[in-house]
Symmetry: C3
Subunit: 458 residues, 3 copies
């Protein structure tokens, strides 16, 4: 099921377990002609493989539930950053997209990403009947449970879809959005994912993206960008005279909560992308990843706080929140190799990118409601390109090729999809519905019915 490359990434564990076994095997080798102790050693090495299997699987489960929790983070972040008349819609979209992503990644996506990618020449996996099997001997050889791996990979694809949800908020129609999500998570993301994590052509070329700055975040960002362009800006956002109308979100504490949830979930996102915890070396790497991930986020916050103070004379809390997220996205391509100081710096540059890119997008009249394009696309590109600075196995040329490849494919594929949806079903509510708010128009349940933010539900 798993590609060679995937096992290669996992190689550290298998290698670790191997070393572990080797250590245990040492006496056996040393006494070939001796007693039966060699047999005892074999048994002990089985025990070692078992332990590694449990630890590796446990890592996927813990990492998986932390990344699953990020779905709540995106929901709260986006609910806080849209206006109250669109909050129920945002909540609905986020729980629905997480559900659709999970089902599609079981139906189709997982195999399209991981199953025998070499057979297609490294461009996509082969759809098969089942994404994960019952426990079997092959599982023990692989070093982890197939279902735990499915779970861990599934929550990643859901993160990609969540990114899109924020950008196109406040004007997208529900059903076209859900259809878009189904195709993105069942087909597009898995295809490009196979290029690298499925062991396809980019991994063969030496592309390096540890936990998905490009594979997850920039893909979500590109899909958000094509959506924002094709769907168009919210009514009243940009004046004919070039003016930009600020549309403040409904709740800063919800947005803050969402950011903290995402920050917490990111320890699973980056940490469990080590893919193995069965050796001292692996768990030590995971520890470094935790520390670097936290420091990069902190760097993003501090950079955004200082910059907005300097440029706007006040500290913009939404920029601080997006600074944290940009720091996290930036370190995701390589959270292990950088020193702590470099991790802070990489994250800080992510924060700088956000502060400058948000107004820039407005200049381009690209209406990104929550700032997802600067955070996930631009910081994702930055994080991918900076990998060679700390990881000597990576080359800037290959990193660049990877960034462009993911960008071209995702822009074309999602652009066509958004366009087809626009033609077939429409992707945007009517101006009246937009003015009324999507909660009344599409959801039928207001977010805060008692607070006078719209007419009563009935």
């Amino acid at each position: 099921m798993k590609s060679e490359f995937y096992n290669q990434r996992l190689g550290r564990t298998l290698l670790g377990a191997g070393l572990f076994t080797a250590a245990l095997a040492l006496p056996a080798l040393a006494q070939d002609t001796g007693t039966d102790a060699g047999t005892a050693t074999d048994a002990a090495s089985t025990a070692g493989a078992d332990m590694a299997y449990i630890f590796n699987t446990l890592l996927f489960l813990i990492g998986g539930f932390l990344v699953m929790w990020m779905a709540a983070g995106f929901a709260m972040l986006e609910a806080g950053l849209v206006r109250s008349k669109n909050v129920s819609m945002q909540c609905l979209k986020n729980i629905a997209l997480y559900s659709v992503a999970g089902i599609m990644f079981w139906v189709l996506g997982y195999n399209l990403m991981y199953n025998d990618v070499a057979a297609s020449g490294g461009y996509f996996g082969i759809p098969g009947p089942k994404a994960f099997e019952d426990v079997g001997g092959s599982d023990l050889e692989t070093g982890y449970s197939a279902a735990s791996d499915w779970f861990f990979q599934m929550v990643f694809v859901a993160a990609t879809a969540s990114i899109v949800s924020g950008t196109v908020a406040e004007r997208v129609k529900l059903w076209p959005f859900l259809i878009f999500t189904a195709v993105l998570t069942g087909i597009f993301y898995p295809i490009t994912g196979s290029w690298q994590w499925g062991g396809g052509w980019l991994s063969e070329m030496g592309f390096s993206d540890f936990a998905g700055s490009t594979i997850v975040h920039s893909v979500g960002g590109w899909a958000a960008l094509t959506g924002a362009v094709i769907i168009g800006a919210r009514k009243g956002k940009y004046g004919a005279d070039g003016s930009v109308h600020v549309m403040p979100g409904s709740s800063i504490p919800l947005a803050t909560l969402g950011t903290f949830i995402l920050w917490l979930g990111w320890f699973g996102f980056n940490g469990a992308s080590q893919l193995a915890m069965g050796t001292a070396g692996d768990v030590t790497d995971i520890s470094r990843i935790f520390a670097n991930t936290n420091l990069a986020a902190a760097g993003g916050v501090v950079a955004a706080v200082i910059l907005t103070q300097i440029f706007y004379k006040k500290v913009d809390v939404t920029m601080a929140l997006n600074g944290a997220l940009a720091g996290l996205v930036s370190i995701t391509a390589e959270p292990l190799a950088p020193s702590a100081g470099l991790a802070i710096l990489i994250g800080a540059v992510g924060g700088v990118i956000v502060v400058f890119a948000v107004p820039l997008l407005d200049k381009l009249k690209i209406d990104d409601v929550v700032g997802a394009i600067p955070v996930h696309l631009l910081a994702g590109i930055w994080g991918t390109l900076v990998v060679p600075l700390s990881n000597s196995d990576a080359s800037i040329v290959t990193q660049f090729i990877g960034v462009v490849a993911y960008g071209v494919f995702t822009v074309v594929a999602t652009g066509i999809l958004w366009f087809v949806l626009k033609m077939v079903t429409g992707v945007r509510v009517t101006p009246e519905e937009e003015a009324m708010g999507l909660d009344m128009a599409e959801v039928g349940v207001e977010a805060y019915p008692e607070f006078g933010t719209g007419s009563q539900r009935m």
Copy 2:
């Protein structure tokens, strides 16, 4: 302390550890007359038992804190679904009930559920002086720490009490509710729990309820139902002409947050109900449980979204949230055996149940503020009855007997208790207090004092 049945459920670990030990023991057996290496093997097998003990206990701790977190999920879900004048009360009830449940389950409940249930013929455990002891040799033999098991079981009983809290919201008096909670968590739930998880008569009969669709959720649902009937509907909910007045909740994002919290916690609820993680087989089972649990919830969401679109022409976000929860409850009786596709289907039927049962309850003038009866009672029954479809050890007759037995006992016991409370202390606030809101009447602290949703606090 633990019943045979419990150990039987845990048998997989002990067996696993046994196999593990056996593998290690092999060389010893093979060289009986040989060197001292056999002693080394014994030592190594001790190591194996130790490792299994740590993994099993760790599973209870991780599962336990995830289920503890569900207390926050219920609090947020219910706070979001009541009107703002009752939100502080709902917050108070939920933190207080979690506290009361914990203390009562230590004082009385745990032993009543697990201690020597056979002595009573399988109908209840024997109250003892202490729920958990210091570490000792017996712990190592049991395969997990007693305190970790107490913690994990305690958070389950708290979940049961939380279910009741939602249904009877907006009119129940605080202190009678807390007394009800104390009796439910200290006596009623433990008694019926002993029938199955304590190794009592239902487990002898072959009843199957992996993580508590019936034992936890339907019990909470029955207790909520008797409460709703005896306390009566909120003023103005049902018109004399048979009309139903919709009373929208105060905050959809809080309800959404609560649902995501519950979904996250459910990985602990179902996953750690495997009760063991010390072998590759156990952790593989836990992985399947994670995947199936997630897919069932997703199925519930998708079903509710599609159905409400068809029937109401708009997607009801509260139905989507309750669809997720119904999917989760439905898979809880057997999250391991179903294939992934069946798990989606089981969850989807849960979602369908919610969409149809919510208006049905209103027809019956049973006022369930948050929809807990459809979600926990009806989907709980569904989940229990569908077990034989995937688990050939279960019989539909026995499943039916179990469902009825839990229903009869809980309806009678909680019915009497609610009735006695009604007679002795009253269970309902005055109409004036209900109109004013429980926050002013009973809590003295408004939830949102600045937002004009009632008169100022002072």
Copy 3:
């Protein structure tokens, strides 16, 4: 890097691993002159050390992410307890302080707390170039990954800073607060922390504070107290006639959410302070800590609920929330040794302290917006002084000396710092800004712009 004392605390693991190794080594000792099996045993003991290393590190990682999550808990608790015009500021302060704390604890704090404290006579550690290193042989000997330990210690210092944030809310200026945070987390906390957890003079004397009732919570409380005194009360809080004006918080559900988050995080705070999970004994201790921590919080809630009912005729939900937190702080100094019943009692006294101390502080015109001084300072002192009741290794005299030492140092140091900041930058916004709210004055982003709680942002 680590002090002797720290290793002494960790002794249980090392000892455990030692015993474990010893058991494995037994045959080797028994057959000195025998076969090569002794070598096999050495290899197996290496495996044991490896397993212990993974478990210990995993404990730091899980405990660390749970305590990191407490940063969100403080943010939500404080956002809920301030008025809506100051909510964005509170969100900003909390994410910024967590970031600043992390960077400062890497730049300076960690080494000042743990590096060769003996060299200074036990009063502070020696600043070094790096807080944590790459994996190496020394790590394996220490028994855990250095980066995981850094991560776990870092989230503790962030908790200390969060405590201050709540007390001085609604009138403190952002930048002086952040400077204060940098010095507190980079210098003051590490210095006093080194006295005990760095193996300094107090640990030599036999002071006992398992997870930081004094070292973390009372230090935060003292720093909050000096801040409250030097910054002064909010305008209008205290009338010239001695009257106290209640200023209700903006959102009880957010405060409740924050409390649940903190409760959840506390399992990491106290549980992972066991510092080791590689033996059955350690994980059993962690289980007891989980159970006791939960019961103490429950005791605090129940005490506060009963007391406020008696004294005020209504149950104050904010007191119930602070009762939970006070129970948690109270048990933090010794969560392992008490029986479950004693844990409930210790927590309940914490709850009583809060109910009485909140009005007392108002009598003294010390304006503590969220009640952090009763919760963290007073319950922290109580928890520290009660340790000898259950832990016979602790002496009440030494506990008292410790409490006073931490108090004197922190009051003097933070008092001077607040005073210097007052002179140099000012620590308080202008009366106009205070009336307008800090969100408009300092952050430029209102928390709820659509809800009419202030003028529109632009």
